[in-house]
Structures are given as C-alpha cells and as structure tokens.
C-alpha cells in the first residue's frame, strides 16, 4: 500500500512537472543572433571583455528562448554540448578518486601508513596518478575480479 502511494505521488509530480511544450517535443528555441530579446540584452550589457566575449560566443553558437537567454537543448545533433563536458567531468572526478584510493591502498602496506598521509611520498603519488589516468580500465577489471567491492561476509548487519 505504502509503495503504491509512493508510485502514485511520483507519477503525479512527474506529470505536473513537465511543461506542455517539452512534453509535446516542440521547442521555441532559435539561434541567439536571430533573437530580438537576446540582441537587446547584448546591447545593454557593459562593454567589457568579460561581457563581449561570452555574448559573441552565445550569439554564434547557442540557441535562445523567447526571453533572450541561451538554452542547452537535449537533442541528438547538439548532444556534444552536453556529452563532452559530462565526459570531462566524469573522467576527472574518477581520476581524482582513483588516484587517492590507489595512494591510500599502497600506503597501508608501508610500515608507517599515518606518516605517509601527512608527508606525501612523491614517487608513490606519481605512481598513483598514473593508475588514476587508467581508472576506467582498472575499475572494470576490479569489478569483474570482485576486488572493487567488499565481500558480504565483511559487512556488519544489524540484528533484525
């Protein structure tokens, strides 16, 4: 019963949250340089490098809505606008996480692991960074060999 209510509420929020235009698959986006509202904003902006350059980039490359602001549209021919920044973020986040993890795992094997957390061992750190660069491959390898996750027997479970 409880899960039914949750599903019903989730459906209600989902349906009420989608604007009709997006649901119908239609958009009113036009290239920014053809949008009168955008051009007005561009002319009103202060004439400095930090305003000129972005506005010129928007007018050449992006699509604007009726209010004259640029929008990123989720459609296939513009997928690269979303995919590339996502890929860069995802790879970089993984790189940072995997390097740190590799360093900590290696430092645990040393005689004084705590000292290696306070004073960074440069050769080991560089080795960890190199491992971090290959993180998608290493993560896949560790997932298939079950090194990535802890064994069920190692997890404590509260009595129920």
């Amino acid at each position: 019963m409880k899960s039914l209510i949750i599903i019903f509420l989730a459906g209600l929020i989902w349906l009420s949250g989608i604007p009709p235009a997006a649901a119908a698959g239609q958009t009113h986006l036009i290239p920014c340089q053809e949008s009168a509202a955008f051009m007005e904003r561009m002319q009103k902006a202060p004439k400095t490098y930090y305003f000129d350059q972005p506005y010129r980039a928007y007018s050449a490359n992006l699509l604007c809505g009726e209010e004259g602001l640029p929008h990123l549209q989720l459609r296939l021919d513009r997928a690269i606008d979303v995919a590339i920044p996502f890929a860069i973020f995802f790879y970089f986040a993984g790189f940072v996480g995997w390097s740190g993890r590799a360093y900590l795992i290696s430092s645990k094997r040393a005689s004084k692991p705590e000292e290696m957390e306070i004073f960074i061992n440069i050769p080991l750190a560089i080795q960890s960074f190199i491992q971090g660069l290959l993180w998608p491959l290493l993560a896949f390898k560790e997932l298939t060999t079950r090194e990535l996750t802890a064994k069920d027997s190692d997890l404590s479970v509260s009595p129920r």
Binding site: Q53, P54, R56, A57, Y58, S59, A60, N61, L62, P70, L72, I80, D81, I84, P85, E117, I118, F119, I120, N121, I122, A125
Partner: protein, 47 residues
C-alpha cells in the same frame, strides 16, 4: 638540512597548495586554448 626541507615541502598542506596552483594553471590554459569552454559553447569555434 636538505632532507628536512624536502620533508616540509612534501607535507600535505604544501602539496595541496601546489596541486591547487597546478590545477589553476591548467584551467587558465584550457580557457586560452578553447575560449568557448567557459561559456558552455563547447568546442564550437569561438568568434
């Protein structure tokens, strides 16, 4: 003397500051090479 200097330089706060400086330089260079990056116009030619 040299050993204690190296130990100080490899301490976590110094290394963290160094990493921050390197990251800032990388970001500034990326912005120089791909001027569209900061505007969300990724890898389209900037005017």
């Amino acid at each position: 003397m040299m050993a204690s200097l190296m130990k100080y330089l490899t301490s976590a706060p110094v290394m963290a500051a160094l990493a921050l400086v390197i990251l800032s330089v990388v970001m500034i260079e990326l912005n120089y090479l791909f001027p569209g990056l900061q505007y969300g116009t990724y890898f389209h030619t900037a005017p």
